[in-house]
């Protein structure tokens, strides 16, 4: 028997954390050169970038790639980076 699938309305579209990182780079929150190797400073930059995005998106500012943030990254939008110049 096909496994039951939850009704569409309860499945929120979301992106993976990896995709979330690429999103932050594409729209100018993180410089594309950001290494994922880690390190305190890189982590700090990431947190700052996430907070900046959350502010643009008018969602809770947590500095984490939480569910609301990943869901927001699936919204229809303009392709121009948010942080320019």
């Amino acid at each position: 028997m096909p496994t039951p699938v939850p009704p569409l309305s309860t499945v929120k579209p979301t992106v993976s954390p990896q995709q979330g990182l690429k999103y932050l780079q594409k729209f100018g929150y993180l410089s594309t050169g950001t290494s994922q190797a880690g390190g305190l400073q890189a982590q700090g930059n990431l947190n700052k970038a996430i907070r900046q995005f959350q502010r643009f998106a008018h969602i809770n500012i947590t500095g984490e790639l939480d569910e609301a943030t990943l869901e927001m990254m699936t919204k229809e939008r303009c392709g121009v980076p948010d942080i320019v110049g």
Binding site: F56, T74, R77, C78, G79, D82, V84
Partner: protein, 387 residues
């Protein structure tokens, strides 16, 4: 929280734009109308004017594309990224993802007007704003009836270009002085240049010896293929044919390969689009044919030439003149309306009549308007002009 200035802006106020590629989701005139309104959102609050051109290099190019489309920023199909635009220092062009379903005046689909207004903000030098509800906020806002530009965006654009001229006569583009840009021909004194391709109204339609089909309306003409106008059209009649539009009628005689453009008391004779020596000439040479005709065509059934004016028609024999017993009432051609704008015999040998944006095909065997599904009359814009 406020608007963002990217850092470059246009050094002039009068900008031109061109729609170089359309979406198939909407009739062309809906795209043109939405794009014009989107530009007016910014024109209303600044000294900026936006004039649409039909050929040559515009300041702002507007086009619909899918996937990779030549600027290194491939579109992603339905959802996600809807469109993008380039800041003035990078050219200002605006691209729209044709993977979306573009709509106007309806909540369903992706509203072209609101997305275009947003992208044109980038074309003028604005970045994304983090003010909630701003037009320049990065996320799609959906169809917004009775849209007015929010204060944050007004502040942003006026920061770049100043405020509008308070004595601006109307929101329409002001007539432009003749441009010294060789690519852009002068506009007529009225400054209105707008061949609404999809109005479907035609003044004349004909063929040429090399098999091309041309439709004429107002000052412009189109070369038509089996789907609609060829790229690069409409063009100005005068620029190619040397005749100032609108014209009254056009006629093609397959037996001689000659094409005639008729206007008032004169006619011009062409071989393809090349004017023959000695023309224009007086309509008197078509003995018995009135001036200022509405339409002219050679009927496939008997090879005779017919001229239509008002609700009457004349039959003309080459080298002789109008036959005895003419004019006759147009009602002889059963099923046609009582006025005709244009008529011609297409390459399939059938005869088509055009009037008020609609067209009829004539059934030569039963001597009446053809029956078929869908019925005649049909929309000229839809079936001949690719709208």
């Amino acid at each position: 929280r406020r608007y963002a200035i990217q850092g470059s802006r246009w050094r002039k106020h009068d900008l031109t734009y061109r729609i170089s590629a359309y979406t198939q989701d909407l009739p062309a005139f809906e795209v043109e109308s939405a794009v014009e309104k989107a530009f007016q959102v910014w024109a209303k609050h600044t000294p900026l004017t936006f004039t649409r051109i039909y050929w040559g290099r515009p300041d702002l190019d507007v086009k619909f594309s899918v996937g990779e489309h030549g600027d290194g920023n491939p579109f992603d199909g339905a959802g996600g990224e809807l469109a993008h635009a380039f800041f003035p220092q990078y050219g200002g062009d605006a691209h729209f993802d044709d993977g979306e379903t573009w709509t106007v005046r309806t909540p369903g689909g992706t509203d072209l007007f609101i997305v275009a207004a947003h992208e044109f903000g980038h074309s003028l030098g604005l970045g994304h704003s983090d003010v909630r509800g701003s037009l320049m906020a990065p996320f799609y806002q959906g169809y917004t009836p009775a849209f007015t530009l929010p204060p944050d965006d007004v502040e942003g654009i006026q920061n770049l270009y100043g405020v509008a001229d308070i004595d601006r006569p109307s929101p329409h583009p002001r007539p432009r002085p003749p441009s010294n840009d060789v690519d852009v021909p002068d506009y007529d004194a009225r400054g209105t240049v707008d061949p609404t391709t999809c109005s479907g109204h035609l003044d004349a339609i004909t063929r040429t010896k090399n098999g091309s089909t041309y439709a004429f309306a107002g000052e412009f003409f189109w070369r038509l293929n089996d789907i609609g106008p060829d790229p690069g059209y409409p063009m100005r009649i005068h620029d190619i044919w040397g005749v100032v539009g609108p014209i009254d009628a056009a006629l093609f005689w397959p037996s001689t390969g000659k094409t005639y453009l008729i206007k008032g008391e004169r006619y011009w004779r062409f071989t393809n689009a090349v004017l023959d020596e000695g023309y224009p000439a007086s309509m008197e040479r078509f003995r018995g044919v009135p001036t200022n005709v509405d339409a002219a065509f050679e009927w496939g059934r008997n090879g005779k030439t017919y001229f239509i004016k008002g609700n009457q028609y004349w039959r003309y024999s080459k080298g002789w003149g109008v036959d005895d017993g003419y004019p006759q009432p147009l009602s002889v051609w059963t099923g046609l309306p009582d006025r005709i704008d244009a008529a011609f015999q297409w390459k399939n040998g059938k005869t088509y009549f055009f009037q008020g944006g609609r067209y009829w095909r004539f059934d030569d065997d039963n001597l009446r308007v053809a029956e078929s599904d869908p019925q005649y009359p049909r929309s000229t814009a839809e079936w001949w002009l690719g709208c």
